[in-house]
């Protein structure tokens, strides 16, 4: 066993001792299985393509905090129905009175969810295995059969303001048959050498539909990972908007499995960074059966020496005929030192398939800037207007949300901090 693994295991056992030593049931087995998995497959090296630019040392250097320490942290929860503090779900902070009707929630851990959680287990997904080996409760949300929630469900993760830097929030969403809802998550990187790693698993039953926004506000010294794993049954729909703004390192892992005929997903993303920040996006769409459709639209806006990565894979499994899938990644570089790596991958094992993909990397067009200037708009302002339009366009591609105005504001506020657009 190498040194890294040793530290990893010590951390996990430390975590489980302070939080979970009394519970011996299925969740202990669940964690053990994940830990054994990591033991046998090892901690991924940043030399491999899939885990490039990841630096586990920040995780290994972070410190584990106990749930008890977080119970008393005072945070402002004004904006969210459900609140995590330092990665722990704080049931006491839930705004019960504002919850839309048709929604049920509880601490994630009861044995009734173990079958669903087991279905999501993917031994090749290191970050999920990591979250599983540190599993301690979390939040379970259920939208009841044929219910349409009239307002979005909101979830926030708050900085405990202690020096504890490791934060592993976890959510399971179950959309029962015919249910329809909107979910908005907001994760923030914490000050210091922090490690925030969220896992959201979403089970969409037949004809159910979820609109899901994931806002991720990075911090200049922290690592932020967000894994979303989705299963969509027949005629179900999943719509995702992933926003990764700023931060030293951030990573978006988004896996969607289309498991029933006429299942559909639309994944829209915007990543933007400055300084020497890195934003990585790994999307995987599995068309497991025929007559399923998917759309991906990702935009990157990069300033200074930052790096954006888009790595999108579409798998069409054998016998999955009549597939329609398209993917587009557009990037705008605001500085000569910024760069983008974009890699669309198609793995197609069926023949009646319509797949398209494309990627562009460019700078603002001189002619566009001049057109605005010729109308009295300064060059600086022209660059702001054009960059903003490039970014906001992605948000408009995420149709059907009730939260657009707030999302646009959230993005604009971030863009104003980019050096190329400041002032």
């Amino acid at each position: 066993m190498n040194g890294e693994m040793k530290i990893f295991l010590e951390k996990a056992s430390g975590f489980n001792q302070i939080n979970n030593d009394q519970d011996g049931g299925w969740s202990a087995d669940f964690r053990d299985r994940a830990l054994n998995n990591i033991k046998s497959s090892g901690i991924p090296s940043s030399k491999t393509e899939k885990y490039r630019h990841m630096d586990m040392s920040a995780f290994l250097a972070s410190s584990v905090s106990s749930k008890d320490q977080q119970q008393n942290a005072v945070v402002s929860t004004a904006d969210y129905h459900f609140n995590f503090v330092g990665g722990y779900f704080r049931e006491d902070l839930t705004k019960k009175e504002n919850l839309p009707s048709g929604l049920e929630y509880s601490l994630l851990g009861g044995s009734e969810v173990q079958d669903i959680l087991a279905q999501f287990v993917d031994s090749t997904d290191f970050f999920q295995q990591m979250s599983n080996s540190f599993m301690d409760g979390g939040l379970l949300i259920k939208v009841k059969k044929n219910h349409t929630l009239d307002s979005p469900i909101t979830i926030g993760n708050h900085d405990p303001k202690t020096n504890e830097a490791l934060s592993l929030p976890r959510i399971l969403v179950v959309m029962e048959e015919g249910a329809s809802a909107e979910l908005i998550e907001h994760y923030r990187g914490f000050k210091g050498v922090s490690w925030t790693q969220s896992l959201t698993e979403i089970y969409i039953e037949k004809r159910a539909c979820l609109y899901h926004t994931s806002k991720n506000t990075g911090c200049p010294t922290g690592t932020q990972l967000n894994s979303t794993k989705v299963k969509v049954l027949g005629a179900g729909e999943y719509h995702n908007l992933s926003l990764f703004l700023g931060g030293k390192k951030s990573r978006n892992n988004l896996d969607v499995e289309l498991l029933g005929e006429h299942a559909h997903c639309e994944l829209v993303g915007l990543f933007s960074n400055d300084d020497s920040g890195i934003c990585q996006n790994f999307t995987h769409i599995h068309h497991r059966v025929g007559d399923t459709t998917s759309v991906q639209y990702y935009k990157g806006l990069l300033d200074q020496k930052s790096l954006g990565v888009f790595n999108g894979t579409i798998f069409v499994h054998p016998k999955a005929q009549k597939i329609d899938s398209n993917q587009l990644n557009k990037n705008l570089l605001l500085s000569n030192l910024a760069h983008v790596e974009t890699k669309p991958t198609l793995e197609i094992h069926a023949d009646d398939v319509k797949c398209s993909h494309g990627a562009t990397i460019g700078r603002l067009q001189e002619d566009e800037i001049f057109y605005l200037q010729s109308r009295g708009i300064t060059k600086k302002r022209a660059v702001q207007i054009l960059s903003e339009a490039f970014a906001i366009d992605a948000i408009y591609k995420f149709k059907g949300t009730q939260d657009r105005e707030a999302t646009v504001l959230y993005v604009k506020e971030f863009l104003e901090t980019l050096p190329a657009l400041k002032g």
Partner: protein, 256 residues
């Protein structure tokens, strides 16, 4: 004092000499038409006056009246020239995806108001103003909410240039083939836009290939540009003659 005075202007693009000694004086109240074969430098001249960064002035001077004084505008940023009342109607208007016409125009209008010390308009009053202008030009107001020029037909793009001109109310308008690709009704709209603005304070330079436009907008002067130089200047009858005889005879006269 003249509104615009161009003296022996030489300019290059990508190292190619395009303008080879332009001299042109425009007074307030005048309308000038510039004609000339393809590639003779008409758009280049318009872009140099408005400050496009791709064009390099090698020598010569462009003076424009600001606050009652002739000012060297080649030193000004394009946005500063626009704020001083210079408007370029593009031969090929640029598409700006993601920015609506109304946002764009409001931004432009208010930046010019601010510079000139006039009060900025809020969204409500500004929409009112646009509504009026659209009506006056017989234009569909739904244009306003579409992204600037995106998916517009060639003629719609040109009409949009005229709408912008009438809202920004420039002192010197440079209209580069605003009449190309227009149907008869649209041509009348463009002419109306120009004629509505015409006053003893304003001046217009029209770049055109067709005498047809000049039936609606009567120029005081017609210039022929050839190989980066104005080789002939006349009154509106020169346009009629060019229409009949083409450019060869003018070029021939020049050579002799």
């Amino acid at each position: 004092m003249s509104l615009l005075e161009i003296k022996d202007l030489h300019a290059t693009v990508d190292g190619n000499k395009i303008l080879n000694g332009i001299n042109l004086t425009v007074n307030r109240g005048e309308i000038h038409a510039i004609m000339g074969p393809n590639g003779s430098g008409k758009s280049t001249l318009a872009k140099v006056i408005s400050g496009h960064p791709d064009y390099h002035v090698e020598s010569g001077e462009v003076l424009y009246e600001i606050n009652g004084k002739p000012s060297k505008i080649l030193e000004l940023e394009p946005s500063e020239r626009a704020r001083e009342g210079i408007f370029l109607g593009f031969q090929y208007p640029v598409e700006i995806p993601g920015v609506t016409n109304s946002t764009f125009l409001k931004e432009a209008f208010n930046s010019i108001c601010k510079h000139q010390g006039a009060e900025e308009l809020d969204a409500f009053d500004f929409n009112e103003l646009i509504g009026q202008k659209c009506k006056g030009l017989n234009m569909d107001p739904s244009f306003i909410h579409r992204p600037v020029n995106e998916g517009f037909s060639g003629g719609e793009k040109k009409k949009n240039e005229i709408l912008q001109m009438s809202i920004l109310n420039p002192i010197l308008s440079l209209l580069d083939e605003t009449d190309s690709g227009l149907d008869i009704d649209a041509l009348k709209i463009v002419a109306k836009g120009v004629n509505d603005l015409k006053s003893k304070y304003n001046a217009t330079i029209l770049v055109t290939h067709y005498q047809r436009l000049l039936d609606y907008i009567v120029p005081d002067f017609v210039h022929v540009l050839y190989q980066g130089k104005i080789i002939k200047t006349g009154g509106k009858e020169l346009a009629l003659e060019l229409e009949k005889r083409g450019y060869d005879w003018v070029i021939g006269e020049k050579v002799q």
